[in-house]
Structure formats: structure tokens, C-alpha cells
Amino acid sequence: MSGGAGHGTAPAEAYVPVFAGPARARLEQLFAKYPTRQACLLPALWMVQEARGWISEQAIGEVADVLELTPAYVKGVVTFYTMYHTHPVGRHFVQVCTTSPCNICGAEDVVKALLRETGCGELGATSPDGRFTVIEVECLGACGFPTPILVDDDFIENVTPEKVKGIVQRYE
């Protein structure tokens, strides 16, 4: 399932740990909030994704190490949750809701407009300039304001095909 380099063929670039310095201190503050280290797994994975944009095999190894888990276990958890990226994505990650409440209000046209205006062409692909990746997601929980989209952490409501161009221009 991993979209990263094949086992044993990765270029020998040195991996820079995420949990060093202030990030390590932040993680250790979390330890006090849970009775087990394992419970810090989802927060730790979020920290990795914030720092690196995605969760690589090496990062999985590092997280396993700091939380005293096995890499296989961590990978099992990473792949369960759809918001963790197991491969690099564009600088801006766009999630569009197309579940029924938005679907009946025109969400599929918003998807088409986004794929066109970002240059991504198809769902899951990154635009040639590296700016965007667009995916369809299930219910974003803002059904009264169709169509909601998430661009990185920006939650944007009432998106219509006409508004897409202006939204895309806001992101470098």
C-alpha cells in the first residue's frame, strides 16, 4: 500500500528525526495526559504530518521507537485513518465532501471545477506545479452549507463551481 520508495531501494538520505528539541518536549507533555504511551499515537502522528506533510516509513519507525511500539503496529494504525498521508501530497491538500447531502446540492460539479482550476486533472493526483492534491471525502459535517471543502486546515463552506477559481488563487 505504501507509495514510498520500495524496501531496500530508498536513496541513502539521512532521516532527520521529528521528535527532537521542542517537538520532543511537546510530545512528553502529552504523556502526562494519558495513562499509556500508546495512547499518544494519534497525536504523535499528527505532529509528524504537521512537520513533514506526510508520514514516511522512517517516520513510522521513529514514532514506534519513541512510543515503545513496533513499526508494524504503528503502520496498521496509520493506514486505518484516512487523514494520514502515506505518500507526499501537494503543498495544499484539498478535501471535497461529496456524500449525499452535498451530492444532491451539486458537489460533483465542485469537484470537476477544482480538478480543472488546480490543474490536478484527476482525484488523488498532484498538480504538475506541486501546488495541489484534490480528493473526494465522505461527510465533512457541514451539510447545511454545501459544498464544504477543506484546504489544508481552512474549512470553507458554500463552495460553488463559480467560486472555485477565486479560492484556488488564494493558495500559492
Binding site: L42, L69, Y81, Y84, V137, C139, L140, G141, G144
Partner: protein, 435 residues
Amino acid sequence: MGYPHPSHPKETVVLSKHFGDPEARTYAGWVRHGGYQALRKALGMTREAIVEEVKASGLRGRGGAGFPTGLKWSFMPKEVVKPHYLVCNADESEPGTFKDREIMRWTPHALIEGCAIAAYAIGAERCYIYIRGEFTEPWKVMSAAVEEALANGALGDDVFGSGKRIEMVLHRGAGAYICGEETAMMNSIEGRRGNPRIKPPFPAVAGLFGMPTTINNVETLSAVPHILERGAAWYKSLCLGNPKSTGTKLVSVCGHVRRPGNYEVTMGTPLRDILHDMCGGPPPGRKFKAVIPGGSSVPIMTAEEAEATVFDYEGVVEKGSMLGSAGMIVMDDSTDMVYQIWRLARFYAHESCAQCTQCREGTAWTTRILERILAGKGKVDDFQLLLDLSENMTGKTICVLSDSCAAPVVSGIQKFRSEFEAYIAGAREPALASV
């Protein structure tokens, strides 16, 4: 109040009174609105007295199941011999539902206060609030509010000088509908895949980290301060005839209505009033065709059934569906029911955790058969096949996700059969490319 619309005279505004008011987001603003009086009062009561008050109010779980809240709390051990936990379910992911999001965005301290009272009542010193990963704004608002509550002594080691300790931890989900199921949520907090657990043991016996745990929905907990402050009798009086369904309910209405949004109504309000008076009826020139009244997991109603429904737990059941989360999806006569039922089946297939065969296979095959029908390649036998699959998906799995996939399929075939037949007979242009 019908956020983002002005309040409608037929609404009963309690939880949503301050939606849209930025002042209510701050600790000082919340206190000016009368906030944190209920928590102070609760801290002077015994745990048992709080549970009894909530029991007497008739409050039932607002996340979907409708289980009596006070009764749930009373299942927790009386003596605290090992840590007890409160978990607040803020993973709002049920298609059609967007009410908890507004509670967190506009009145975060209402939720914190409700959680603090509930934690004390069940003997918990720590509460985890599990917020879905996509809710970036509610997360920011809640984080700031928890910090402020802590700084003002409403949380911490000695809450308002009572000697009681209440700690609140926000936990971010990462994109999995199933984590809204309470046992899957506990696994997720523990750093596991979000697979639901077999019950028993029930959470009150062995829940989060194996300890006695209570899980309540955001809206349920936010109602608790009002009950303590104004009394169980007041809350119980918010009822239009059926004493089993009391209080107010936030209704999220989306789809084909003129004014989608959140509305707060007294239990027992005619559903017709919500659809026509509050939401303004169907878009110009359209007629209502179908309503899914309680989030996508409940049976679909025809417009006629919905318009004759009394909106409370029993009233919706009487008309063949369920109140659920009261996330209401309204579809007008432009809607292709087969396409939308397929889209819902696809949702459940995507969100199945895949540990039960009936769900893993059933949701996937249901989706594929519906795809085949939409591509103009359906067979008359497909009706029976879908119904047989649905039968095998209902009541046979660890959680109710597969039942939820079956609900729109079975009710859809019952009520909108001619639309399926049109695709199968080739009388309708295929909606999907060949599969």
C-alpha cells in the same frame, strides 16, 4: 435559533441561544450570560443527587441512540476504586448532522461546563473530548476555551475551590466515521485502529483503558447545565404530549429546503412545521420527495410520511424511521433516489472497519450491485439479492454500521421501487458509465 438564520417563533431556544454571538465564546462572556453557575451548584451537590436530577429530567442521548442519560450515568460504580473516565463524543460524522459543530464553535464553555458536571457526577477526574480531525475550527475554539476555563479555575486540581479535580483533554480524530461508535472511539483514544469492541463488557464496567467509562454526545452534555440550573421539572415540561421525549432538540436540516441550518425545537413539534415554516419549504417550483430524518443511518421516509410525523423519539418510530441524531436530509422531486442510495451505500462501504464479514462484504457488494443498476446492467433478480444481503447485514455484527447501510437500501426499494425498475428496464438513461 436557526443558525445561520434568525430565530423562528416556533423554535424553543435553549442550547442555541447564543449561536452566532462571538462574546459567548470567551470565558468572561459566558459568565456574563450566566455560565458556570450550574457547575458551582453541582459541586455543592452529591454525585447521586446530580444523577437523580438528570434522570428525572428525561434527558436522552442526543447522538443517535436516545438512551436515558441519567440511567447511563447510574451504571458507573458507586465507589471509585480505580480511575473513572468521561468521554465526550464530538466525532460528529453522521451524514446530515452538523449541530455539535455549532455548539463547539459558538458555545464551547457550555460543553466544558456540561462535561465538568458529568465528570464529577460519575466520579471521573479526567474527560477526553474526541473531536473529528476535519473540525479544524471547533478544535481551535475548544482549545482556547479549555485554556481559559483552566486559568479561571473552572477546570484543574481544585475546581472553584471545591477540592475536586477535573481535567479535560482534547483528542483529535483522523478521519474515520466508525470512531463515532463508542467502543471504536475508546480504541482510537488508546492509540489503536478504530475497530468497535464486542459488548459486554459495557463501558461502565470496562471501557477506556479498561476502566469504568461513560460516553456522551456533545449536545447531551451541553443540556446538563440547563437542567441543573433550571431544574428537572422545567426540562421535563418542554414536551408536547409524550413524556418519554422531553426537552429541546437541535435539528440540522440540509438538502432541498430554502433555509437549511440548525433549528431547536421542543420534542413533539410537528415535523411539517420544521420543514415548511422554519426551513421555508422546498425550493421554488419543487416538491418534497423524501426525508431521511435522523442522519443517513435511518430508514428513508416519503414526503407524505414525514409531513405526518410528530418529531420526537417515538413519533418518528411510529412512522417507520428513527429520530437518530436529527440530522435531516431533505430531497425534492429532482432527486435520483437510486443514485443517492448508491452514494450512501458507497459511504458505508468506505467507512466499514472490515472486521465483520457481513459488513465488509455486504457494504461492498451492495454498492457494486447498485452501481450495476445505475449503469443500466441491473437485473430483476437484483431486488431480491439486495434485500437478502440487507437481511444478512442487519443485527448480525459487532456494531450497527452494516445495519445502517441496509436501512436506506431496504426502505428505498420499498418506497421508490419504480425508480430502480426504470434503470433495470432500460427506460432511464444510465447514470454511471459501464462497470
